[in-house]
Homo-oligomer: 338 residues x 2
DNA sequence: CTGAAAGCGCTTACAG
DNA sequence: CTGAAAGCGCTTACAG
């Protein structure tokens, strides 16, 4: 399990290459004023010893550690993990590492984790909120660049990147209209979420563009749960027996909706088409039929966030809010597979 | 966004307290041979300056950094996040931080991430596998203690802690027997998973203890999916129309099973009781009725793993395999709520 | 082109 | 009880 902890050190390399450690350092770091043959020799020795510079020592000088902290409050890891994967892609292997910490949606814990990250001298921070709505900016002075992902910061001076919820709603509606639906209901989540309103208004705008209105002339708000999806669908079918499509604010709501539709004897997608939101691997493809859903492209979101953070670390900070367009993933709940 | 990067340093504290930095260091670290009044003065100054020692500098000396790496291959974050939370609990706030990295189930990426973690001088590693089955040990020399969680290492010389799948299966069966069920079927996942066999054999052993056998005299293996749960349930009902309970290898399978039971006109739990496995927040409580499930106590698993790792870092390494008993969470799918 | 020296922030023997 | 000095591993002006 354990082994000799210490690897070779720069002075080992220097000694074996017959140069001073200053020269060895310069050679390895590509500084100028080193004879080519010397550089080569140093490299050979370094390779032979499989020398790896100690980033702690480097960091002590430069203040940079090649690490970035990703602080999440998303207990499920449902949004954070794809975002983290995207961030890792952007930073590339080896050079910069991304470390994820969980704040558990707790402001105190958030402080503690940030202190821990900061005391380890991360070069930057990506803050991933628990919900897509704007959140207050970090309540402390942060000496490194910060990027807010998924949940934007309320401070327009910060840089944030979030999913374009209006666009997501629009995509869902356009897809249904394009596939011939006209009697379309909207069932979405907790009215306390701005994202719920955004998705609904995007959908409604697209319907209006097609000359129609949502059933009941408004979206139905409730909760982000299957149970709400079931209940709202029952009510919707009772009020509008001729409905032919449902736009749902989340995959969980959509699952509940599909459940109730089946119970009420409506065939999916023949009688009623259903679109979800999140394109969650666990829920969407396994549904019966597989659920068409709006994908927020979280991995891409993470990639972009990391790119902005990297630029800020290098000195070019961004400000304001970027919105990443969504993508519709069509499946059997809206289109009968041949 | 940015600020004056550097905080106060030990020598700032020393200067303001009118002592040498050696004395300041000793005072702050509780070393002996420091007059009490001196210590107090140093502490006051440190507090006033909100001095935080630079762990990079400390680490350079001690070789310890107060960080632990948690390497996961669990893309969903479904198992890793609770384990990480448990580990954080065990380490307590502030002293040791846990950083999560994602290997994406890719051996090359695993190496890269470990190199990154190691070059940052983590004090130890927790390896969380993607599936509960034994996995090969890390393919390289690791100079720090390692603990395998969830997926045990194949090397008995390593220390691993995993969920007691046999016990989980047993709990499910005992619960059903205790609530009066006798015609019990077992539908579980991919036969390539040892965990599937373990859960099934635990359940069968408990049934045997009660003097009964599972329907069809064996567990039905298939896949970890809703679709398999649906299909297997249809077959099970056809073959054993008098069944009164189903033990499922995962919550997803259970959800599929419940779906099919309802479709076949069986009331849950009156006609047929259903037990899942994982107690997954997303699927279990929202089911109709809420799903009784086996909880693997992943957070506790993380806590224990961290405890062992900490002990190993302190010099007391463990070896072999610990199995954490499961916990049954009863809900409406097995017990009619009053 | 090369190396001696100072220094990043801290800790630890070792003298006083 | 207190402090000057050396050193952890590296980089960076500054002399040669």
């Amino acid at each position: 399990m354990t082994d000799n902890r210490k690897g070779p050190t720069l002075s080992d390399v220097a000694r074996m290459a017959g140069v001073s450690i200053a020269t060895a350092s310069k050679a390895l770091n590509g500084r100028e004023h080193v004879r080519e043959s010397t550089r080569q020799r140093v490299f050979q020795v370094a390779e032979a010893l499989s020398f790896v510079p100690n980033p702690l020592a480097q960091g002590l000088l430069s203040g940079q550690t090649g690490t970035v902290g990703l602080l999440t409050s998303d207990l499920e890891g449902r949004f954070s993990i794809p975002i983290m994967m995207g961030a890792e892609d952007a930073f590339g292997a080896g050079s910069t590492s991304v470390f994820l910490c969980d704040a558990r949606g707790d402001a105190i814990r958030e402080r503690t984790q940030i202190q821990a990250l900061l005391s380890r001298h991360v070069d930057g921070l990506i803050i991933v909120g628990a919900r897509p709505d704007p959140r207050p900016p970090l309540a402390m002075r942060i000496p490194v660049p910060v990027v807010y992902a998924y949940a934007p910061s309320e401070d327009p001076n910060d840089y944030s990147i979030t999913s374009d919820n209006v666009h997501g709603g629009r995509l869902a509606a356009e897809h249904l209209v394009a596939t011939g639906r006209r009697r379309i209901g909207i069932i979405t989540g907790d009215p306390g979420y701005g994202a719920a309103h955004d998705r609904a208004s995007g959908a409604i705008a697209a319907l209006n563009d097609a000359g129609i209105s949502p059933l009941g002339d408004a979206a139905q708000f409730g909760a982000w749960s299957e149970a709400w999806g079931r209940g709202a669908t029952h009510a919707m079918v009772a009020a509008h027996p001729d409905l032919d499509a449902l736009i749902c604010g989340s995959d969980q709501i959509a699952r509940g909706a599909m459940d109730s539709l089946r119970e009420l004897g409506r065939e999916i997608p023949d009688d009623v088409a259903v679109v979800g939101h999140d394109n969650w691997e666990v829920l969407a493809p396994g549904a019966r039929p597989p659920l068409t859903s709006i994908d927020m492209r979280l991995q891409e979101l993470g990639r972009l966030a990391a790119g902005k953070l990297f630029a800020a670390i290098e000195g070019t900070a961004s400000h304001g809010l970027d919105k990443l367009p969504c993508r519709l993933v069509p499946r059997g709940s809206t289109i009968r597979s041949s």
